[in-house]
């Protein structure tokens, strides 16, 4: 495996505000990488720097083996796709006409449009004018547009923030599929179950730095409190250490048929997020 994104000591300062400081991480070819953090922690800023839309202040950012500043050169633009919260569509044109423009710009056959619309569950809305779409539908068209040219690397900035669970799920399936076919995905989201489901690894960004980076399952193991939670039939709750010392007590309850439920306490990514960043999701 080789790194498709390499960020070292990256720093970004806006005026007197330090949005990113000493940011370090790598994204490997073929993985889905979750970039998580509170609102205002610099996720969008990082994506903008990585896609050549914004200049870094210092440090290094390499994408597809190139310095990120070079990524805005036309010859490299076919290799990646971006969905951001401020991507616009032509309101007066239909979904199809919006995608047709991009198909032509990327030199992709027009029948690809149906394929991407199928992926975002909008195949039957091709003729609809964009101005008449709901927020979630607009978001799906923007995602479809980013998929047209089958990029090697896809940056998704909160791609499902406006979607209902059914459409989110449809898109999750599509993204898994895409990833299986080899697309590397760099994803930011405030939906921790989405991150858990989609990402091979996640990084938690806070105070301009990566505070934590690992696979979701490893993180959950790491943050697991070594406790067994037992709920008894009389409604009382117990917490026992996850250790040989608890065996006798536990066996006693089990033998007396007093146990209603029993489980080890598994933290969710959301719990870990709160623990690491010290605040609730916004």
């Amino acid at each position: 495996m080789s790194s498709i994104i390499e960020v070292t000591h990256l720093e970004k300062v806006f005026g007197d505000k330090r949005a990113l400081q000493d940011l370090n991480f790598q994204v490997e070819q073929g993985e889905t990488f979750g970039f998580l953090g509170p609102s205002g922690s610099g996720k969008t800023t990082t994506i903008k720097i990585l896609t050549g839309q914004l200049r870094k202040t210092s440090g290094e950012a390499k994408v597809l083996g190139l310095p990120a500043e070079q990524l805005n050169k036309p010859e490299y633009r076919k290799r990646f796709g971006v969905v951001t919260d401020n991507s616009g569509l032509y309101q007066r044109l239909s979904i199809f006409d919006n995608l047709k423009l991009y198909a032509q710009l990327y030199d992709v056959p027009l029948n690809r449009i149906e394929e991407v619309l199928e992926m975002v569950n909008l195949r039957n809305e091709q003729k609809t004018q964009v101005v008449k779409l709901s927020k979630g539908m607009t978001q799906r068209v923007i995602l479809a547009r980013a998929l047209l040219h089958k990029p090697e690397l896809l940056f998704l900035d909160e791609p499902t923030s406006a979607l209902d669970p059914v459409n989110s799920k449809h898109i999750h399936t599509g993204l898994k599929e895409l990833n299986k076919l080899g697309t590397t995905i760099f994803l930011t989201t405030h939906d921790m179950s989405e991150a858990d489901y989609l990402c091979n690894r996640v990084a938690f960004l806070h105070k301009g730095k990566v505070q934590l980076l690992d696979t979701p399952s490893q993180l959950k193991k790491q943050f697991r409190e070594e406790l067994i939670q037992v709920e008894l039939r009389d409604g009382s709750q117990l917490e026992l250490p996850l250790a040989p010392a608890s065996a006798a007590e536990l066996q006693g309850y089990l033998a007396a048929d007093q146990v209603e439920t029993i489980y080890t306490k598994e933290p969710t990514l959301g719990d870990i997020f709160v623990e690491v960043t010290g605040r609730e999701l916004i």
């Binding site: 839309q53 010859e75 633009r77 076919k78 401020n86 569509l89 032509y90 032509q104 030199d107």
Partner: protein, 231 residues
């Protein structure tokens, strides 16, 4: 990657289709047609009016349309998407210029059909109009690069309209207001100058003046374009 005609045409088609549904911009742009229709009902349309319609069309369509369709891409966050695609800014601007040129020519032809246009030295006048169109187009491109919304574009284009679109009208007041004499140098009045020459060999002078306007506007928009970084 080199300049691609295919991408230019894709932008052109998109903008044409979009403009067709853009009532605000379209109605502003078609204002010269309303004037042409009204004047066209006179028995004999005076030459000054005919030249006025030409200047008005060049500034309303050539400058305002160009400026508005560039500014709108910024206002609606669509330029960012284009700039992330293989399309380059020169291709985008060229595609839009083509839209503007086509609509300007169609509007001019319709105006001429309604109000007539038969100046002396017609070939030289046409050369002058082509140079003027380059001037107005470059001016619109420059304004499009510096403005951020269609509304802003509509405001900025007003003085340009007054100076360059209406100069043929205001020049009538130069006896009362001496400062209006500078309007003599606008492309619109240099076109009149060409038509009124008795000695055709003197036509290089008005043509050179219009050329200077065009060159100036092109240089201005190129400099702005180079300086422009789309954050």
């Amino acid at each position: 990657m080199s300049f691609s005609i295919k991408r230019l045409m894709a932008i052109f088609q998109k903008d044409l289709k979009d403009l067709y549904r853009n009532l605000y911009v379209l109605s502003t742009v078609l204002l010269p047609l309303v004037f042409a229709f009204i004047y066209g009902r006179m028995d004999e349309v005076p030459a000054e009016i005919q030249f006025f319609l030409v200047s008005l069309t060049l500034s309303m369509v050539g400058t305002f349309l160009q400026c508005a369709i560039i500014a709108e891409e910024k206002e609606k966050n669509t330029l960012r998407g284009l700039m992330l695609s293989p399309a380059t800014l020169p291709e985008i601007l060229a595609g839009k210029s083509l839209v503007t040129v086509v609509i300007t020519i169609v509007t001019l032809l319709l105006c001429i059909r309604m109000a007539g246009f038969n100046p002396d030295h017609i070939i030289l006048v046409i050369v002058g109009i082509v140079l003027s169109l380059i001037f107005f187009l470059a001016l619109g491109t420059w304004l499009g690069l510096v403005t951020r919304s269609v509304l802003e574009a509509s405001v900025y284009v007003l003085p340009i309209m007054m100076i360059f679109g209406m100069s043929n009208m205001f020049i009538g007041l130069k006896e009362d207001y001496a400062f209006l004499q500078v309007l003599e140098y606008t492309p619109g009045l240099q076109l009149v100058e060409i038509a009124s020459l008795t000695d055709v060999s003197q036509s290089w002078k008005p043509l050179l003046i219009i050329f200077a306007w065009a060159a100036g506007a092109v240089i201005l928009s190129v400099i702005t374009f180079r300086k422009r970084s789309f954050d």
